[in-house]
Amino acid sequence: MRTWIALAVIAALVALLPLSGSNYFLRLATTVCMYAVLAQSWNFIGGLAGYPSFATAAFFGLGAYTSALMLAQGAPLLLSWGCAGLVATVFAAMIGGAILHLRGHYFAIASLIVAEMLRELINGMPDITGGGKGMNLPILPISVTAEAQFFFYSMLALAVVSAATAIVVHRNKLGFGLRCIQQNEDAANILGVNAYAYKTAAFSLSAVFVGVAGAIYASWVKYIEPPDVFDVLLAVKPMVMVLLGGLGTIFGPALGAVILLAFEELVWRNFLTVHAAALGIIIVALILFLPNGILSTLRTWFSRKEPAT
């Protein structure tokens, strides 16, 4: 119950942001919400099940292109977003069936290939997808401010839905089984966990919201091209965010998204030329000093400060 209240309060506070009236701020907040979705999604497969997936970028790009292609045919906006999520999920279930028997590094490499494969596929179909020239998306017939708010609230809603899904999954049989798989997959099998089905479910969960996020992103920026929506950073950043916030936790991914993007914004503004190096240093420092993420580090720190009983 406390988790639900926390989610509601955070969502309500974030929803007040447009009152600030700054479009720069709103744009940044939309990006944060988008990455919160990506990080939360990765947490299902990477955090709960312990499978280091790099397929996030693939689902994102697939969602973006699904929506763009449907909009080009004149489909309604929300329908195209929903279908983007559906296509990403079905794709994840199929790919998952092929690569989820691999473990550790082998799985990571296989999942990394998925985005590259899709990128080449879309590059190779210029008649339908525009190939390397990319695709333009229709402009919404509303004012600039209304549009900025519309996309902000859409991303926020998606972030809340993905967090709510995480809360449900963490507490039910699926989340329990995934934690067992993460700790010891062979023992989980022997205890009756259908590991294959559970991993496929986690992989699909890691795709559905990412597919929708890709679709919203495409409508938001109005122009997509393969290197943009299949960017490997779309797979790497969510991982760093989850590690930063707390692996396998509910609010860790969103917290990680806020911190990393805020930091990135500061570094990018102040150290334009060394921005990539600065990010690299953060990641190394993170692994060295906060291996369990901020949330669990804070938790241990506070429980240590409590008087011994």
Binding site: K173, C180, Q183, A187, L191, G192
Partner: protein, 249 residues
């Protein structure tokens, strides 16, 4: 009435090595079977065949009327075949109670995580782990980890429980405790196969012994008879000793 578990000419090869070679036997309901044999005889491989971890390369395994030779480990587990591991396999960073709850949740027909945890606590009380229920499994001593394996197996509501060296590495007092628990489990009607090196333990607990040597079943029967079987003595102590002992009889 059919046997509970039937193995029919079962073999398992790893490359050119026949770890288990043409083994056939049946286990009846309510029996306690002792599975013995020198190191490398194929005892654990046999358990791995039955539980689907390393399916048989030839032969058939039946549990009651269903063939489970090629079934997946989780399917076999859900039929009511539970096992413990010689090298303990806990979920290290989960609490002891959650380790056991997993068995109840995925095999023992618990409806929810909370219900599974409640059932797990009963099994922990039964196996004497109640006081460490909320500690991470990794923090337990070896004796208690072995006990945890047992509790996990019990939470699966097994009909056949296979215990792979649950007493190895324990001191005498710990072995006695474990034996008392195993006897209590058997009294509840669970059929048990025990793999064990401690001969005294096997003899005191088993109704029947099966002896494996180089992957083959070389003897089976009542414990006293089996231990006096020259082939068994030869397998354990060598041909010379067996011959000397045979001559002195």
């Amino acid at each position: 009435m059919n046997a509970l578990l039937t193995l029919d000419n079962v073999s398992r090869a790893f490359g050119g090595l026949n770890a288990v070679d043409g083994v056939s036997f049946a286990v009846d309901r309510g029996e306690i079977i002792g599975l013995i044999g020198p190191n490398g005889a194929g005892k654990t491989t046999l358990i791995n065949i039955i539980t689907g971890v390393h399916p048989a390369t030839s032969g058939r395994v039946h549990f009651e009327d269903s063939e489970i030779t090629r079934a997946r480990p989780y399917q076999i587990a859900r039929l009511g075949l539970a096992r413990t591991f010689q090298i303990v396999q806990p979920f290290p960073r989960m609490t002891v109670v959650d380790n056991v709850a997993a068995g109840a949740l995925f095999c023992g027909h618990a409806g929810s995580v909370r219900e599974a945890q409640a059932i797990a606590r009963e099994h922990l009380a039964f196996t004497g782990l109640g006081d460490v229920a909320d500690r991470p499994a990794a923090s337990l001593t070896l004796a208690r980890r072995k006990r945890l394996e047992l509790a996990k197996g019990l939470a699966m509501r097994p009909r056949l429980l296979m215990l792979d060296e649950v007493n190895a590495g324990l001191n005498q007092a710990e072995v006695d405790d474990a034996l008392a628990i195993i006897r209590k489990i058997a009294e509840q009607g669970v059929t048990i196969i025990v793999i064990e090196h401690l001969m005294k333990v096997v003899v005191s607990i088993s109704h029947r012994l099966l002896v494996l040597h180089h992957g083959q079943l070389i003897a089976q029967g009542a414990p006293r008879d089996v231990l006096n079987d020259p082939r068994v003595i030869e397998a354990y102590l060598g041909a010379k000793y067996a011959a000397k002992r045979g001559a002195s009889h």
